[in-house]
Amino acid sequence: MLLVLVRRVGNMVPTLAAVIALIFVLFSVIPGSFMSGLGDDGRTMDPAVMERMRKEMGLDQPLLERFVKYAGATVVGDLGTSFRTREPVTKLIAGRLWPSLKLTMAAMLVAMAVGIPLGFVAALRPGSLIDTASMVGAVSGLSLPKFWLGLLLMYFFALQLKWLPSFGYGDGGLTHLILPAIALGVSPLALLARTTRAAVLDVLNADFVRTARSKGMSERRVVTWHVMRNALVLVVTTVGLQFGSLMGQAVVVEKLFSWPGLGSLLVDSVFQRDIPAVQGCILVFVLFFLIINTLVDLAYVAIDPRIRYG
């Protein structure tokens, strides 16, 4: 267990290093700057002030020097100072992390709580109405633009039915979370339902399930004792990949629902060219992805003895 952890964390280092370098290079050639972005509603900016801002943000230094400084600071957990708020990016991110996590986890919860059972049921009755309906539903869920879906949800559940608030974070309560979580959760839900179905079908055809049947087990026991865990091994990867990338995928939903997560921060920062904040956000997304996948690996180790002793 510890070994796997060490190995995974070890593997994260080069990935992170590459990501840091990549995003730095990417955003060093971006057109427009924070200063020119300030004039976006027709208010012109004073050239002298802009020059001073450039200096203050260190943008007048050569690229390489900036990179070395940035990389060095990142290693010790300093993500630089936001152009916009002139506060440490870490602080900016810290404020957004919990809403982001909350949304991501809620969406994943929706996806798992609905998708996995749905896939299971579908696989146990292949070709049945339930199977067909849930799989058609799943593919449809994957085929809708997220913002459109979110908008439709908003109109329906908030405006028409008045069940739920339409936007925002509220006081951090549950009601505000539901709609964005559903909008975000639909595509992992669909993927999970499909993966689960395929995995269960796969396992149901495995030799050891035939062995279990030949032992005289009832179908229910076969499923609960032998199929579930084995199917889970296959599903866990999808859960991990989906979960890991969900925080980044949340951008659109966060923007639509005015959710104060990292996604909104990222988009705002991109449009205002607050490059340190952008880099910080991406780094957090990547880190989240890597951490989730490490956890998934650990989960594997817990579920699958072949890896534990392999």
Partner: protein, 326 residues
């Protein structure tokens, strides 16, 4: 040595398995010091249990894995760990027939392409000549000309193996390594392929290395036989000596394990049967690798590795008790 077509000199192939962080890297000695010769036109049978290194040995001879130690002389070439072979030349000297006729043919190539491409690659430019050689060879392995434009999935297992054999022979090699050529085939087809291989051998003057764990087949086709256990040759000799006067307990166990309804009582020499499981090649037992299963095991066997010793001219066995006859 000049008259040898192939000679292996203390050949060893090791694989690194595992990773630095997960339990450390281990060395797997797939082939561990094999010395062998094959003369032109000769058939060497190679037997041994699964995982003992037969295929690895074959791949090393083909130059597909480089030896960790030792040398291979084949045709005019010498291969060693730091000297990879000239593939083109190699291809015209040694070829291979694979075990699984389903996996060994490219599903997206017709028979004609499978056979003609290598010819073109090796400089036979003339269209008519390529065509003639392809059709000729197809006839030799028992395929009709109209088969040429079919894809592998349109053939039965036996026919596919014929295609595989044709591919091995298209460059007119001198040595063909047959890695379990019939074990994946239907029982009623095997005789066809074995007969075909023997006919081709005579007709084209081929030398074979026949890898198999079916002792019946090995006895039937081989001139000489080598028995492998966990990467090492444990016994080697003419086919008659090996089957009638086996000196290594492992060879005896192999023979004893063959169910033979005609000689049930005779062959089942109770004492010859091996017990227990084959050790893993990753951590073989010290001394003689066979010692945990050996009915003749003595203290010496766990300490000292027996070397191949001469029993009779041309008959070698690696057992401390090779002279003890039971």
């Amino acid at each position: 040595m000049a008259e040898q077509l192939l000679s292996l000199d203390d050949l060893a192939v090791q694989f690194k398995v595992g990773s630095m962080l997960a339990g450390g890297i281990k060395t797997l000695k797939a082939v561990d010091g094999v010395t062998l010769d094959v003369k032109p036109g000769e058939c060497l049978g190679l037997v041994g249990e699964s995982g003992c290194g037969k295929s690895t040995l074959a791949l090393a001879i083909m130059g597909l894995v480089l030896p960790t130690r030792g040398r291979i002389h084949v045709g005019g070439q010498q291969i060693s760990g730091d000297k990879p072979p000239d593939r083109m030349e190699m291809a015209r000297t040694v070829q291979m027939v694979f075990q699984d006729p389903y996996a060994s043919l490219n599903p997206r190539q017709t028979v004609r392409r499978t056979l003609a491409d290598p010819l073109r690659l090796h400089g036979v430019g003339d269209k008519a000549e390529v065509e003639a050689r392809v059709i000729d060879l197809m006839a030799k392995v028992g395929l009709r000309p109209e088969h040429a434009d079919r894809y592998p999935h349109e053939f039965s297992g036996g026919q596919r193996q014929r295609i595989g054999i044709a591919r091995a022979l298209i460059l007119k090699p001198k040595l063909v390594i047959c890695d379990e050529p019939v074990s994946a085939l239907d029982v009623s087809i095997r005789a066809q392929i074995i007969n075909l291989l023997l006919e081709l051998k005579d007709e084209m003057g081929l030398a074979y290395i026949m890898i198999s764990h079916d002792l019946g087949v090995v006895e039937h086709v081989s001139d000489r036989v080598a028995v492998m256990y966990l990467g090492r040759i444990v016994e080697q000799g003419g086919w008659q000596e090996i089957f009638e006067d086996p000196r290594h307990p492992y060879t005896r166990a192999l023979i004893a394990a063959i169910p033979d309804p005609f000689h049930r009582a005779a062959a089942t020499v109770a004492g010859a049967k091996a017990k227990g499981e084959i050790a893993s090649a990753l951590n073989p037992p010290p001394g003689c690798h066979f010692n945990p299963r050996c009915p003749l095991k003595a203290d010496l066997c766990t300490v000292e590795t027996p070397l191949l010793g001469t029993v009779a001219p041309g008959h070698l066995a690696a057992c401390h008790f090779r002279d003890r006859i039971i």
